[in-house]
């Protein structure tokens, strides 16, 4: 692959992102602007921005790689990533918008009238944000290594630095513009190469005959029931708790707009995920040699150059590199905005200057972690973050919105249980898989048991603690669920 193409694409995306970021800076002035763009973003913009923020390295590179590697079971990842927004629509979107809080800790504190709950939620939001940024940086490292031949760390450092600068300079309004732009860039960057491949592959003989490229054992018939169900629980419910997604809902003007935005997101994601899925299918037929754990994630970057000859191949490669880079930039900056928002409000007094300091801090830590850990498959490591979120923030959020009986102690107990269980599953996974292979699926996909246990603990502790139900519960719930113009 020609390194000049890699450099050009990466520099172009970085420049455009920074320019749009600074353009946004001229409009954003007050603290409220900084955090939630003054709630004046129309649904299409907002939905594009949510899509832009959400489609990460796992979506852009990881899904195609995993389909190549493991077959049709990987198709559950994009299904879950998308259907998570259905759950968000059904249970969270409108009430959360009406809560009027900026961040998840704001929400839990207002709902449960407890500073302790706020602190616990803040810690979880920060941990989840950091965990989620790490695979983005590793994806950037992979992209830079494959496309330019530079050492891996250059990619991680470049993405981290850019994100910190753009976020600290512009805040959320800037990020809304950047994110919306990034969604359409990512869609074009993966759709155009797929269309080109569709046109070209008619004339090329596949490396493998169809029956070998798509064996029935790797197909839908080889469904592993426990793993699939558990993955779906993690992805569907994990989406509800992702901090960078939730913060977006505060930028809708009212509850019905929040619902409309969510439906548009669902449509945008459904369109987008058709393309990585097709890429994966192409990979199985035309690039079976990449089907090993180290190379599979690079499939999207490598395939256009292999199948499309000459200048067109170079241009398509530049496009996918740009799209991949946009994916790392946008997801990381969305996460940094929400993590920095939490850090600055809780530790640094909520000032604009505090937000800037927090933005730098919250890119530095994941960068360190990315250096210290071995990169695993992108889709898989993001899946684990979803499982962690589903077992920690999701029960509190759902019960807080729909159940009067939730108390502060119940919430803390549930979050702690979820964190300990999923943390143990993630950290202990390597030990168990070697010593007790029978438990492998149970540990690798913990959501099916960790989420129900966390919900159960939350409910039981809340019931035992019934007398301490917050006094304002009924008023707060009314505010969450009443249509806007009927509020007292």
């Amino acid at each position: 692959m020609n390194p000049a193409i890699g450099y050009a694409a990466i520099v172009a995306v970085a420049l455009v992102s920074v320019l749009i970021g600074f353009y946004g800076l001229r409009i954003s002035r007050t603290t409220s602007d900084f955090y939630v763009a003054s709630r004046t973003v129309p649904p299409w913009w907002n939905a594009s921005a949510i899509g832009g923020e959400y489609l990460s390295a796992a979506s852009f590179l990881g899904i195609a790689g995993l389909i190549l590697l493991t077959g049709s079971s990987a198709m559950w990842f994009p299904i879950g990533y998308t259907a998570g927004y259905l759950m968000l629509l059904l249970f969270v979107a409108a009430p959360l918008r009406r809560s009027g809080a900026y961040t998840i800790p704001d929400f839990t504190e207002a709902r449960l009238e407890s500073a302790t709950v706020r602190r616990v939620t803040s810690v979880l939001v920060i941990v989840i944000g950091w965990l989620y940024i790490v695979p983005q940086l590793q994806g950037a490292a992979l992209t830079v290594r494959i496309t330019t031949g530079l050492p891996s760390w250059v990619g991680s450092v470049a993405v981290a630095a850019l994100v910190a600068i753009v976020v600290a300079a512009g805040g959320m309004r800037a990020i809304t513009f950047v994110q919306a732009f990034q969604f359409w860039l990512k869609l074009a960057a993966i759709a155009i190469p797929v269309v080109a491949l569709l046109l070209v592959t008619g004339a090329i003989e596949p490396e493998l005959p169809p029956a070998q490229a798509f064996p029935a054992a790797d197909g839908p018939g080889g469904l592993d029931l426990y793993r699939t169900v558990s993955l779906m629980v993690a992805l569907l419910l994990g989406t509800l708790g992702l901090p960078h997604v939730l913060v977006r809902f505060y930028t809708n003007p009212d509850g019905p707009t929040a619902r409309r935005t969510t439906v548009i997101v669902l449509v945008l994601l459904s369109v987008f995920y058709a393309f990585p899925t097709l890429f994966g299918l192409f990979g199985r037929a035309f690039a079976p040699d990449l089907a090993n754990a180290g190379d599979a994630d690079a499939l999207v970057l490598v395939l256009p150059d292999r199948l499309v000859p000459g200048v067109w191949g170079d241009l398509l490669t530049a496009l996918v590199i740009g799209g991949a880079f946009a994916a790392f930039l946008s997801t990381s900056s969305g996460l940094v905005v929400s993590v920095a928002g939490v850090i600055s409000q809780d530790l640094l007094g909520g000032s604009v200057r505090g937000f800037r300091i927090a933005a730098f801090a919250s890119t530095a830590v994941p960068l360190l972690v990315a250096f210290l850990t071995e990169p695993a498959g992108l889709a898989g490591s993001v899946g684990l973050v979803f499982a962690f979120t589903a077992a920690t923030l999701c029960p509190v959020l759902l019960l807080g919105i729909w159940w009067r009986g939730l108390t502060a102690r119940g919430a803390v107990a549930g979050m702690a249980t979820g964190a300990v269980l999923s943390g143990a599953a993630i950290l202990g996974g390597a030990l168990v898989t070697t010593s007790a292979p029978a438990f492998r699926a149970v540990v690798e996909q913990p959501a099916a048991w960790s989420v129900p246990i966390a919900v159960l603990v939350t409910v039981l502790v809340s019931r035992a603690d019934r007398r301490r139900m917050p006094r304002g519960t009924d008023a707060f719930l009314a505010r969450l669920h009443l249509p806007e113009r009927d509020r007292g």
């Binding site: 259907a83 059904l90 197909g219 619902r259 299918l281 009924d474 669920h481």
Partner: protein
């Protein structure tokens, strides 16, 4: 969110009660008010109001759960059907087995359909609440 014994505070019991049939929110509000003996028309308007609010929350939750269950059941049925028909593994469309294509692209339309139906029904619930609150 689990099935609770009747010792629960009243609002929770209704949430998981067997009356999962569709548009039953409207009659339930006045009945409940009467049953508690708390909200005759001469009482403070706040009480009636709060009964309406709880009724709205219940009907929205019921709607959400019905939609979620509907999506889960149709998806499971669809996927099991795809997995159990071996002919779909043999039928190649453009070199790819039909079963792979169905799994890869078939679930998204289901999700979008449920989402659109939900948004309409949720807005209807809110409109119903409004008309109740204004009737008063």
């Amino acid at each position: 969110m689990t099935g609770e014994p009747p010792a629960d505070p009243p609002p929770r019991v209704r949430v998981t009660a067997p009356r999962a049939g569709a548009a039953s929110a409207r009659p339930s509000a006045p009945t409940r008010a009467g049953a508690r003996g708390a909200a005759s028309p001469h009482d403070a308007p706040g009480d009636v109001q709060s009964v309406y609010v709880r009724s709205l929350i219940r009907s929205q939750l019921r709607l959400g759960l019905i939609c979620a269950a509907g999506f889960a059941i149709t998806t499971a049925a669809f996927v099991i059907a795809v997995a159990l028909v071996p002919a779909l593994d043999e039928a190649f469309v453009a070199g790819v087995p039909a079963s792979w294509l169905l799994l890869g692209f078939g679930v998204y339309p289901l999700a979008i359909t449920v989402a659109v139906l939900y948004v309409r029904a949720a807005a209807r619930n809110e409109a119903r609440y409004r008309s109740l609150a204004e009737d008063r």
